[in-house]
Symmetry: C2
Subunit: 132 residues, 2 copies
């Protein structure tokens, strides 16, 4: 059975549970990390721990506000560990937890797909624009 069919069956299973955000793992996870920044920050931390300001530099167009907020959410869900050194000025280091690290494998699959199929997507968009 191909992946597409299996995914379709998974979906029907979720439907049976009413696609409830509390109980459906995929809905739940998507609501947490299905945004513009979470995936990017997890990727940024995959190479090793980084400080707040290093992350801000690594992802140039994230605002401090969203950086703080996204890291807090990832921390609460157990993807990221936040380590505060109570110096002055404080030094805060973020790192992936074992859970966060284990997420790297499926994420890498997604990333590889994106890189392989990017040209196709661009072509589709160009064609859509011509048709418009």
């Amino acid at each position: 059975m191909d992946a597409c069919t299996r995914l379709g069956e998974k979906f029907e299973g979720w439907q049976a549970l009413g696609l409830d955000e509390e109980r459906c793992p995929v809905r739940n996870l998507l609501d947490q990390i299905g945004d513009r920044w979470s995936i990017l920050l997890i990727s940024a931390l995959a190479g090793g721990p980084k400080r707040f300001s290093a992350l801000a530099r690594a992802v140039p167009d994230i605002s401090k506000r969203m950086l703080t907020q996204t890291l807090r959410t990832l921390e609460i869900s157990g993807f990221v560990h936040r380590d505060v050194q109570p110096t002055v000025p404080p030094s805060v280091t973020y790192s992936l937890t074992p859970l966060g690290q284990s997420f790297a494998a499926p994420l890498l699959g997604l990333v590889d797909w994106a890189e392989s199929n990017f040209a196709t997507v661009l072509e589709a968009r160009a064609q859509a624009k011509r048709a418009a």
Copy 2:
């Protein structure tokens, strides 16, 4: 080399390109389908073509507005095909394109991870709440 390290290296590669949304496949894709509904709709269509109203029923808490908008975006990026039967009332069927179908494989990896690690995430959140 483990997935986490490899992901970290990928990220450094993107950084070298300035993480530009136009050129970085991951940024680009994330901006398109990194939202609450796209992944869910692709999963819903993985089982086979569906009509607009069937999709609305399949994903109960999506508004018509977001359903239309998300499907349009997916169509433009080449994930979804939109087939209009010019009857009265019109009958519109959505289906995954070959590109959309090929996306099912990495998506399934993500979904499996979510289902396997959901308990861990819930536990982390419960602990965060206790600590607060």
